[in-house]
Symmetry: C2
Subunit: 340 residues, 2 copies
DNA sequence: GTTGATTTGAGGCACGTTCCTCATATACCA
DNA sequence: TGGTATATGAGGAACGTGCCTCAAATCAAC
């Protein structure tokens, strides 16, 4: 009736507790035949190790490192805050986390930092960095050293990462496109801005956005992406100029840098008859939503990202299966009325 | 450095382990002065009981009952499935759950069922039922018997429930209103349908919906609510008639019964130039989204509801604080592109 | 100053697991 | 057949907590 324990396994397999333990923890010195007997009993009884008791006995401490972009990135900042909060709330969790900020645009710095991580003192790493060959190598090294690796927010599909925690950027872009098409009430042009089209996320969002706009809202012309390269002044200047010269009915901001964008929009005095859509809920985008300068925000819940990353890393360390339904990060649509 | 244990508390307070145990578990036979000494040490060291070790020691089993509406309610069905899934995934959790379906429209049956619950064999109850005086009394009885009580999906604000897990219905209605106003492209009338306006949720959704429509989209006229009383035939007939006679540009479905509504809409052949918005993601609404018969669905994630209910009930049983950020259920907007 | 009640201390066993040690049993090889 | 290497068994201590018993200390009231 009750959950079977190691004792039950020992009895069922007709071996001693010590042997069961050796098998369960893959320690050497057991004949294959005996291993099979034990594993058989495990299956028959449906034994599942009590992780908490095991962690108690071995005084386990999960040591995780989070690699996040540095710089004036509000999204990364709120993700940091969410991580701290999740970590504090799960204080009973035997988990130590370290957050490392790296310059996003310098792949070598990222890899240098990854190399410094001593695999012996590390159980898992969560990475929010662009995929480069160097990063792929670094991931392979970590995996070879037995460290769990998850990609966070932005996937590393061609690396050996164990798991990706985040949303599908193409679908997010499609969602933005659908909202844009339905919100805009007259034909015209749509301005698309981004920090840098080198980022995979921006590319994929654009892909999805364009696909929907082209097939379903052919009355609107989507202009080529305008890049700001993390320079607020440039963002302001470019946006101001385009708004003045062209018949813009919508603005889609694919990346960060929304503060400068919104300043330019407000200055133009056209927030009233423009549909603007941005990504990620930050203090900037939230207040813009409330005030009406942004029509919608496409977001991923940072709290969810943080908690998922911690849960998935732990499951990977324990060799447990991952509860996909809980870890799927949803593409959220935030309007003025459902911010809370 | 490490988490303090009861041993550390004993040392810090200058008392024995037994006394610390008596204080922590509120057992009698300790002088007030000594209690204070121990509690002081707890605060000084920041002691937090290791719930897992405690549960291990006392072989704790959490026994929860979920009261959900019976009948052909797709939302309740998917909530059931989500509960089963959450429960299975958290098998290591020493939790036994029982799901009881009650006829929603019969308050007496609900209360009769609640009376049958033996408080001695029960740690917590989650209720998804309309608030009536009888239900309030039943909640008070459960609380008096030391049972944790949470309201699920639909709040019981005037009862003694410990917690509410769900969304703000007024805000959900406002969100629907905002979407309706922005999606509809010409003046006209909006049809609002509901199973029964006696349900608090429907009333509150209508309130929010009307508020937004009136203040921001005055060009549209919102018709009085049409009630179907859980009768698919009636729903079909009424909707078909209204669509034929009036200049309807949008349909807002506040409750369940979407299958019949969608049948009527499809039959009318007007899904193409109607904006229809419904609540809750079910097989019916999901396929309607994909096919374009529904423009949007306002939803709460049933998986999240289920997991939150389990977590909150456990936290209540253990006297732990609730991690609000994780338990806040969001008002989700689902379009064709972000269903996943 | 004694009595009796209350409060406190000391310790042990349990929970399910890990990780030891030490002794014994079995298999293999010469 | 003996010797050696390998497998297995038996048992114990520990992790942090709960819960129990029994004895000792302290206290209040007489």
């Amino acid at each position: 009736m009750n959950r079977p324990t190691v004792h039950d396994i020992a009895k069922e397999a007709g071996v001693s507790l010590a042997t069961v333990d050796r098998v369960l923890n893959a320690r050497p010195g057991v004949r294959d035949k005996t291993i099979a007997k034990v594993q058989d009993a495990v299956v028959r009884l449906g034994y599942v190790r009590d992780t908490y008791a095991a962690n108690l006995a071995r005084k386990r401490l999960y040591r995780f490192v989070f690699i996040l972009p540095e710089g004036p990135n509000q999204f990364a900042a709120s993700l940091c805050a969410a991580l701290d909060e999740a970590h504090a709330a799960q204080i009973s969790d035997r988990t130590a986390i370290e957050i490392v900020r790296v310059p996003l645009l310098d792949p070598h710095a990222i890899v240098r930092r990854l190399r410094q991580l001593a695999a012996e003192t590390l159980d898992g790493v969560a990475l929010m960095v662009p995929e480069t060959p160097q990063v792929r190598d670094a991931v392979a090294r970590l995996k070879a050293a037995g460290v769990a690796v998850v990609a966070l927010v932005s996937d590393l599909p061609n690396s050996r990462r164990d798991h990706f925690i985040g949303t599908n950027s193409v679908a997010a872009g499609r969602t933005a496109g659908l909202l844009m098409g339905r919100f805009v009430r007259r034909p015209g042009e749509v301005l698309v801005v981004s920090n840098s089209m080198r980022a995979r996320d921006s590319l994929e969002r654009r892909l999805g956005f364009d696909a929907v706009m082209a097939t379903e809202f052919a009355g609107m012309r989507v202009l080529p992406s305008v890049e700001s390269f993390d320079d607020p002044a440039r963002m302001r200047a470019v946006v101001t100029e385009v708004l003045a010269r062209r018949d813009v009915v919508g603005v889609y901001s694919m990346g960060s840098g929304n503060t400068a964008l919104l300043d330019a929009l407000r200055e133009s005095g056209r927030t009233g008859n423009l549909v603007s859509i941005a990504h990620e809920l930050t203090p900037t985008t939230e207040s813009a939503l409330r005030e009406g300068a942004l029509a919608a925000v496409i977001a991923q819940n940072v709290g969810h990202l943080a908690r998922s990353a911690l849960r998935v890393l732990r499951a990977l360390c324990d060799g447990l299966s991952i509860y996909e339904a809980q870890e799927r990060v949803r593409i959220e649509i935030i309007l003025r009325e459902n911010i809370g």
